[in-house]
């Protein structure tokens, strides 16, 4: 079971637009909500209202500052969840067969009833996409909302991962990255979608769209407003000016 499929006819995944993401964390909350109320063990929190709260999350948003060699530094909000890698190292290390990559659509999942909670798969993932739940003692990871995307009891607009459905900025896209004609594949081609840590050899399915180049200032800013001098002021205003100047 922990052998990877040679190839999958579909590669379902996310395309995340780093240019558009505003770092609102709505996707984090939507993910936590859906995956606590639905499939598998809930994503637990410990000491949630105490001094040292810790919880399980399948999606987290980092914020980075990039300082180019020339020009002004800029901020990039950076959501990160499982990238459903084609050469997923987390799957092959699993001793129980609990971790697997689906042959039909490439989604990487954990069978929680078989997981012994050894944590080795979390060690094998370069991206920090797997977290061992402190209460349930089993490995949790992004399921690409496998219980939404094929769920015919949901209205069609909701058959998307919870994070994609909720993103107010339209920074998250879901689709089949094996189909070169799909909307996500075209986005990746147009915008130069990137792999994270390609040197780790995981071949991620999820892609990240880089921030677009910022506009540069071409002209010097408009001249500063004229000096508020009253020299040569005539008429009524001139009379007031002269009268006030006498005091």
């Amino acid at each position: 079971m922990t052998a990877l499929p040679a190839s999958t006819p579909r590669k379902m995944g996310l395309v995340i637009d780093l240019d558009t993401c505003v770092g609102c964390h709505a996707c984090v909350t939507a993910c936590k909500g859906w995956n606590t109320e639905n499939y598998g063990a809930p994503l637990s929190d410990t000491d949630a209202y105490g001094a040292d709260p810790v919880g399980t999350f399948l999606n987290r948003v980092h914020s980075y500052e990039v300082t180019p060699a020339e020009g002004t530094p800029f901020t990039v909000h950076f959501p990160k969840s499982c990238l459903h890698c084609e050469d997923a190292p987390c799957v092959t290390v699993c001793p129980t067969g609990a971790s697997y990559k689906r042959a039909e659509d490439g989604i990487v999942l954990v069978n929680e009833d078989h997981c012994i909670g050894c944590g080795l798969c979390a060690w094998a993932c370069p991206y920090g996409a797997r977290e061992l739940d402190a209460v349930a003692g089993v490995m949790k990871k992004c399921t690409l909302c496998v219980d939404r995307i094929y769920n015919e009891t949901l209205p069609e607009v909701d058959r998307l991962p919870a994070c994609v459905r909720t993103c107010p900025a339209g920074a998250r896209h879901f689709g089949d990255l094996a189909d070169p004609g799909s909307a996500v594949s075209r986005l990746v081609a147009e915008r130069g979608g990137m792999d994270l840590m390609p040197e780790q050899g995981t071949r991620p399915v999820n892609k990240y769209l880089p921030p677009r180049p910022r506009d540069a200032l071409t002209a010097t800013p408009a001249a500063t407003p004229a000096d508020p001098s009253t020299e040569g002021l005539g008429g009524f205003l001139g009379w007031i000016d002269r009268t006030l100047a006498r005091f």
Binding site: V61, T67, K80, T92, I116, G117, C118, P126, L132, E199
Partner: protein, 291 residues
């Protein structure tokens, strides 16, 4: 990586046990009767105690039998299978020596080799992880194998072989440390490659994704006590290799000296194993601006 006491104990103790079982199996020592009983009990005991302590690390130890199923792909599963098979195959040899004063050489040799393969599988659990560049290197299996063989020689009470192996162990340890120090840089992973933004400029963390800590940071971004690395390396090297060697040189055939050498060796190995974990940096730390 977080140096969990259960894993440090497991790898050290079971390594010693498997090393001793390998020596007993291959016939480096051939005790009979009561002596054989005591020696095999020690070998099996250490191996089993080590395995039991590794089970404490699991979220669901009651499902541990499932770990025997994925030996085709997983080194962790191979380790479990090999440990069980090695202990089973050695049993007839042990019974022969204890009750009939006769070795069953075939079972002994195959069982002994399987014991060493188990140690190799343990080391490959760490050695295979590209995410931990310090471990992802040939020095990891070399270090684990030499440690186990040296422990086996010490526990078998073979002073001259032990001295020679202790010297090799010292070389393996130092190589693992020195070569390991440049592995992270050689892996090519940086915050720039982790975010894909490296080509656009220098990247630094502005805000972490959460105010508290999380599983990833606790498990994989252990930074405490790294600054004590040099003294700890010296202590490990002295206790695990140099002092036992000196003791065996001064009094090769005195039981107290051998016992003291073994005790020092174990303390040194525990320190070295602690360093093995505490010093290892996981690439996920890059996302959090720590290593």
């Amino acid at each position: 990586m977080h140096p969990a006491p259960s894993i440090i104990l497991f790898t050290t103790i079971s390594g010693l046990g498997l090393g001793l079982l390998a020596f007993l199996g291959i016939g480096m020592i051939e005790p009979t009767g009561l002596a054989a009983f005591l020696w095999f009990t020690l070998g099996y005991g250490l191996t089993l105690v080590g395995l039991a302590s590794s089970a404490f690390h699991l979220g669901h130890p009651e499902r541990a039998l499932r770990a025997f199923t994925q030996w085709r792909t997983s080194w962790l599963s191979r380790e479990a299978v090999l440990a069980a098979v090695a202990m089973l195959v050695l049993a007839p040899h042990a019974i022969g020596l204890i009750f009939f004063n006769r070795p069953l050489t075939g079972f002994g040799i195959i069982g002994g080799l399987l014991a060493l393969q188990t140690v190799l599988a343990t080391s490959m659990i760490y050695g295979q992880l590209r995410t931990v560049p310090r471990w992802n290197h040939w020095t990891t299996p070399t270090l684990f194998l030499i440690s186990a063989i040296t422990g086996g020689a010490l526990l078998s009470g073979l002073p001259f072989l032990s001295q020679m192996l202790l010297a090799w162990l010292a070389v393996a340890m130092v190589l693992h440390w020195i070569l390991g120090d440049s592995r992270f840089a050689a892996s090519g992973s940086t915050l720039g490659s982790a975010t894909g933004l490296g080509a656009r400029g220098a990247v630094r963390q502005l805000e972490p994704p959460h105010t508290g800590t999380n599983y990833l940071l606790r498990e994989m971004a252990y930074v405490v006590a790294r600054r004590h690395v040099v003294p700890l390396r010296l202590i490990a090297l002295l206790a695990a290799c140099v002092l036992p060697s000196v003791l065996l040189w001064i009094a090769p055939f005195s039981l107290p000296a051998i016992a003291a050498a073994i005790l020092l060796h174990i303390l040194g190995m525990l320190t070295a194993r602690w360093l093995f974990f505490a010093q290892a940096e996981h690439v996920v730390g890059l996302y959090y601006g720590v290593r």
